[in-house]
């Protein structure tokens, strides 16, 4: 501060409380989202990680499991494994991006940025939404990039279907980012997050119908039916094949059910996020 020795000109007294700008609801969301995006694009490895791995999975598993794949009953046309797996990879991209962007909560806490946000006069809802919107935009962006490959799978998307798919991806990304928020917020270290990722999040994706179709019966089909992500997955499949008539009751949940379940799942995750962010514990004050 050696150059700050110039005398400070007297300035008028700071405004009274009433005259100070009221805390805005949207401005913090905008600014936190923007920060999330700028950070993402400045950290190149994250870009590669979130898109690269799923792409690799798609190519390798698509080729490797081609022979042993039995199309699900609802696919009333000839479907290759690569085609079946295609929307599954899109959901994987959404999940990875959403989850990785919430890992930054742990980093923000450790690096101290979070404490500055916590003492700012913003509602905890805007804090949560700022984080979730950032993760959502990133997840949707990358999933859309991937879905541009749809024509190579013989999936022809009409403009209307594309728009609906975009909306669905947004809902799904928002939900999964919120899920990541709930997991990341109480975490002390990123290692803990990675542990949860491998025992909870990966299985959740594997058992959502993304990787293999749900059987007609047995314990595995029950787990798949109980997994909320199954409905996010099913919704995406149905929207990608918007033109085709896929019957309900053929192993793939209907669009209405998918929407209701995903919205409920979303509401629960966002609600929990806001609750957690509003709790003040000594851990936050570091």
């Amino acid at each position: 501060m050696s150059t700050s020795t110039a005398p400070v000109a007297p300035s008028p007294a700071p405004p009274a409380l009433e005259a100070q700008p009221r805390g805005s609801f949207w401005l913090p969301i905008y600014t936190l989202t923007q920060r999330e995006l700028v950070r993402f694009f400045r950290q190149r490895t994250r870009v590669i990680g979130a898109l690269g791995q799923p792409l690799l999975f798609w190519i390798l598993f698509g080729a490797g499991l081609k022979g042993s794949f039995q199309p699900p009953r609802w696919a009333n046309w000839e479907m290759s494994y690569q085609e079946y797996f295609f929307p599954g990879v899109a959901v994987m991209i959404v999940m990875f991006t959403a989850i990785f962007s919430t890992i930054s909560i742990i980093e923000d806490r450790r690096e101290g940025f979070l404490q500055g946000v916590l003492v700012a006069p913003i509602s905890r809802l805007s804090l949560v939404l700022g984080k979730l919107c950032g993760g959502t935009v990133l997840a949707v962006l990358q999933a859309v990039l991937f879905l541009l490959l749809a024509p190579t799978m013989g999936i022809s998307i009409t403009p209307a279907a594309a728009l609906l798919t975009l909306v669905w991806l947004t809902l799904l990304s928002f939900t999964l980012t919120a899920l990541g928020f709930v997991i990341a917020w109480p975490m002390e270290s990123t290692q803990g997050f990675h542990a949860i990722m491998s025992v909870f999040l990966m299985p959740m994706w594997l058992l959502s119908g993304a990787f293999f179709p749900a059987g007609e019966s047995g314990w595995l089909s029950w787990i798949i039916a109980a997994n909320p992500l199954t409905y996010g997955m099913a919704g995406l499949r149905r929207l990608l094949y918007f033109g085709r008539d896929i019957p309900t009751g053929s192993g793939l949940p209907g669009l209405g059910t998918s929407l209701v379940v995903t919205c409920l799942f979303c509401a629960v995750c966002v609600g929990l996020s806001v609750y957690l962010a509003g709790r003040r514990v000594s851990k936050d004050a570091r």
């Binding site: 150059t3 409380l17 009221r22 600014t31 920060r35 690096e111």
Partner: protein, 312 residues
């Protein structure tokens, strides 16, 4: 109705599990005061800082900032306080200006007014030429200045600074204190500063000394020093306990053993020193006589050294 104090604390107690970090603290900070929270690490000042900055909920007792109840109206309090943390709170991936823009947005500032304010602060803190640099590329001292700019951005009426001179070289420390005085004199800003450094505490208008979660004393530095009766004699000896006894028998002078040294507070210190050295030339290895410092005041008030066992 009288103007409410900047900070008013009544019967504040805070526990982490079984451990009481603060026990029944009461004091107040007047407007336009540079107020120091002095104490060893673990004394409770950081807990108090977190309670004032709304990071921790008030468990029991009452805290008001400009008459606003901190427990009931966090958001109103948050709008009025600027917080400078001891640990970094900057986004290292972003530039100085980007960090301040986000900060401004969080406080509802925007566009031209915000940019103007950022330029003014960067100029005052001498970091205008680094505005476009990423935080990660700045030295610790420069990062500290950005932290301070961040806390001042929305022109808070109360500044809370946790060990603000951490990582600042002595010149920059002096500048910081000069700047805080400028803010107090010209903009009527009240500042509450935690510190474990005695020489820092001397800069404050008033101090609260915290030790083991208790408020030991409050007052201006000079008044706290005056708690110590007259001069301070410190004696280093091979056998402090025996020497203390001998001094007590021979001169009828009470001495305390603090940190392995004998400590005597006396109005006419220089006479006693002469007599002591004459009487116990072998037992005394070194003797120092001084006007009481804040450190002496702390020892006087708490009966133990600032950096006592288990404190540091």
């Amino acid at each position: 109705m009288p103007e409410p104090q900047a900070v008013d604390i009544h019967g504040l107690t805070h526990r982490y599990g079984d451990h009481a970090a603060l026990s029944d603290i009461s004091f107040s900070v007047a407007r336009r005061e540079l107020f120091g929270l002095l104490g060893p690490n673990g004394g409770g000042k950081t807990t108090l800082f977190r309670l004032l900055s709304t990071l921790l909920p008030i468990q029991s007792g009452r805290v008001e900032i400009f008459g606003t109840d901190v427990a009931a109206r966090q958001e109103d309090v948050r709008r009025q306080i600027g917080v400078v943390f001891q640990s970094p709170s900057l986004d290292r991936v972003l530039t100085v200006r980007e960090n301040l823009l986000h900060q401004g947005h969080l406080y509802g500032m925007r566009r031209g007014a915000l940019r103007e304010r950022i330029d003014v602060l960067l100029g005052r803190l001498g970091i205008a030429d680094r505005a476009g640099d990423r935080i990660a590329s700045l030295s610790g001292g420069l990062q500290r200045r950005v932290e301070i700019a961040k806390g001042l951005l929305h022109q808070p009426r109360l500044l809370l600074l946790d060990e603000p001179s951490t990582g600042l070289d002595p010149g920059a420390r002096d500048d910081l204190w000069r700047y805080l005085r400028d803010l107090r004199d010209h903009e009527g800003v009240t500042a509450v500063v935690t510190t474990h450094l005695m020489e820092e505490a001397e800069h404050c208008d008033r101090l609260a000394i915290l030790d083991k979660g208790r408020l030991v004393a409050t007052g201006p530095p000079a008044e706290l020093r005056a708690h110590v009766g007259g001069d301070c004699i410190t004696i280093q000896s091979e056998m402090p306990a025996e020497l203390a006894e001998k001094i007590a028998t021979r001169f009828d002078v009470e001495s305390a053993i603090v940190g392995g040294r004998l400590r005597i507070e006396r109005a006419d210190g220089h006479d006693l020193v002469r007599e002591l050295v004459d009487a116990f030339p072998d037992e005394i290895s070194t003797v120092t006589l001084g006007k009481p410092t804040l450190q002496d005041a702390f020892i006087h008030l708490t009966g133990h050294q600032f950096w006592g066992e288990g404190d540091a």
